[in-house]
Amino acid sequence: MKKYILQRLGIAVVTIFAVITLTFFLMHMIPGTPFTRENTNMDADVLAALKSNYGLDKPLWEQYIIYIANILRGNFGTSITYSNRSVADIIKTAFPVSADLGLRALFIGVSLGIALGIGAALHHNKGWDRFSSVIAVIGISVPSFIIGTLLQAAFGLWLSSWVKNVFHTSFQLFPISRWESFRYTILPSLALGIGSVAIITRLMRSSMLDVIGQDYIKTAKSKGISNAAILWKHEARNALIPVVTVVGRMVGSICTGSFVIESLFAVPGLGKYYVNSVTARDYTLTMGLTIFYSMFVVASTLAVDILYCVIDPRVRYTEVGK
């Protein structure tokens, strides 16, 4: 097990290094500089001064080496567009918000998805199954910004105007923008989570149906144990194994921010910074966020693989045997 984890860590370091290198050169291949957008006919001297200030006048390979050296010292540099803020500082303030939103969405996705999936499998081809497959189709095919907009229309427009008419107050139970208290988190989490609800529902359903047809379920029944024990100890537990992998893959992407949902609901998360940094050629910020993102994804993948070993004994033993 230890050897396996060390090996995986080694691969992770190589992966991240490759991501850094690729992003670095790809970023610099995009035409334009961080300064072109504000003023197209900027004075050449000013531009040169700015460039040398950020070290952008040096040859690319030299910039690359300097950058790598800085990273190894834990220095991700300062943002070019948000000129007085360091990349680390931006991550420190914005990431917790994104992760909070992401985890809430994931929680909705996992709990609702598993429940709907189990229900659908137990009522195979009946009302409940049909209902959950409609949810799944909507969740997969309708983009989250449409769902988000619909939620905003429903709660921000229709519900609040109804509340205003009936109760004569402008109180909003589920506000449609900003990120302040629990009430504020409901709609964006729902909008972000509905896609994963759909994915997990479908997966859990097919996985459950597969397990229910297995011989060992007949064996379990032949022991006379209760239906609840069969469902939880034998069916759901085995059906969850493939779901864990998928959920694990989701953690990385869902927690590092969704530009669309974050801008729609004015959530001050990472997504906004990420997208803006690319359009503004904010090299340091893009690089810093990319590295952070890939480390996060790699770490969560590793965590899932370890968790996988815990829940699926077949994996556990083959790995140990190696």
Partner: protein
């Protein structure tokens, strides 16, 4: 003979999207107390469905018990509630399945899976429910009893760490854990290596004797029947076409299908060079089963009546039953019992 299980006119159908599969179409069977009954017949003739019906562990949504009774110790198992059925499963009737490699939950240790049935039904000497620790200990004892080496270590292993033969031993231990009165074994050796088949059969016999259980064994293998069973039922197309003692079936068989089965296994040395006979054709479609005898199309003695009407069960002796028009008193084709 006191019957511990008596199946009367059992009819079971499955509702599939393409229609109603009439898997069992009026089966009568009797298992004597302490006896071993073998059910034989080729693939798809309804052996497993009959056995599963005793335990009522089909997928109940699609399954319909159209008629019949399954009397177990006087109680009709088709009438009692699911709760009462759960008290019987694993406790008074145990079941062993064909493929041990898939019969156990892959993510639960073998010891825990045996302990599970003990926790559900087992009682200590004082009549109290077992503690998890006691259940684990008994599970280990059972593994020792079925001759699994180092049972303590094995109990905490997962199914994939066992060989097929070892797993089938564990499955037998599990089915026998609560000393059931009846054990149903659905092709318990088919999936195993030839070399371990005999060992598993011996173990089954031994456990049956020790726990004084009655046994229903489903098999394709007439060698197994001769080895272990006292009586046998031959199934074809969802029906029992012939039933009797081992002697009735092997030496006095009266149904052309039973004869065909016997001819398809190798016999004594003198006839070694003769090619094995096989029965031409395929079993009937159970979605639209024939009105008459299901074997008509493959039977060399088929008459017109065979196609139109299902032959009744004729009693040839107290133990011997057969469904064939040739046994009808009015049949012109007179046959002697056991000689076709």
């Amino acid at each position: 003979m006191i019957a511990i299980i008596e199946i009367k006119d059992l009819r079971v159908s499955f509702h599939a999207y393409f229609g109603e599969v009439q898997a069992v179409r009026g089966v009568n069977l009797k298992l004597g107390d302490g006896d071993t009954l073998a059910i034989v017949g080729e693939s798809g003739c309804g052996k497993s469905v009959t056995a599963l019906s005793i335990m009522r562990i089909h997928n109940m949504d699609a399954t319909e018990f159209k008629s019949g009774e399954i009397l177990f110790d006087g109680t009709d198992l088709l009438k009692i509630s699911e709760k009462e059925m759960q008290n019987i499963r694993g406790n008074r009737i145990g079941m062993i399945f064909q493929d041990p490699m898939t019969a156990l939950n892959p993510s639960m240790t073998v010891g825990n899976q045996i302990a599970e049935v003990l926790l559900r039904h087992g009682r200590s000497a004082g009549g109290k429910r077992l503690s998890p620790k006691d259940a684990r200990e008994r599970a280990t004892e059972l593994l020792r009893r079925v001759k699994i080496p180092s049972p303590e270590r094995r109990a905490s292993q997962f199914p994939h760490e066992f060989s097929g033969g070892m797993l089938q031993r564990a499955v037998i231990a599990m089915a026998m854990a609560c000393s059931p009165e009846v054990l149903i074994a659905d092709e318990p050796t088919t999936a195993l290596d030839v070399t371990v088949q005999a060992q598993i059969l011996d173990l089954l016999k031994e456990m049956q004797r020790e726990k004084r259980a009655s046994l229903i064994i489903i098999t394709h293998d007439l060698g197994v029947v001769a080895n272990i069973a006292k009586s046998a039922a031959v199934m074809y197309g969802g029906l029992v076409v012939e039933a009797g003692t081992i002697g009735d079936i092997f030496y006095r068989s009266s149904h052309p299908y039973t004869r065909g089965l016997l001819d398809s296994i190798s016999r004594e040395s003198g006839r070694k060079n003769e090619p094995l006979k096989s029965i031409e054709g395929t079993p009937p479609d159970l979605v639209n089963p024939p009105a008459g005898c299901p074997f008509t199309d493959r039977c060399e003695y088929a008459m017109r009546v065979c196609k139109d009407r299902l032959p009744p069960e004729s009693a040839l002796s107290e133990t011997h039953l057969c469904r064939c028009w040739m046994l009808d008193p009015e049949c012109p084709l007179k046959i002697e019992r056991g000689k076709l």
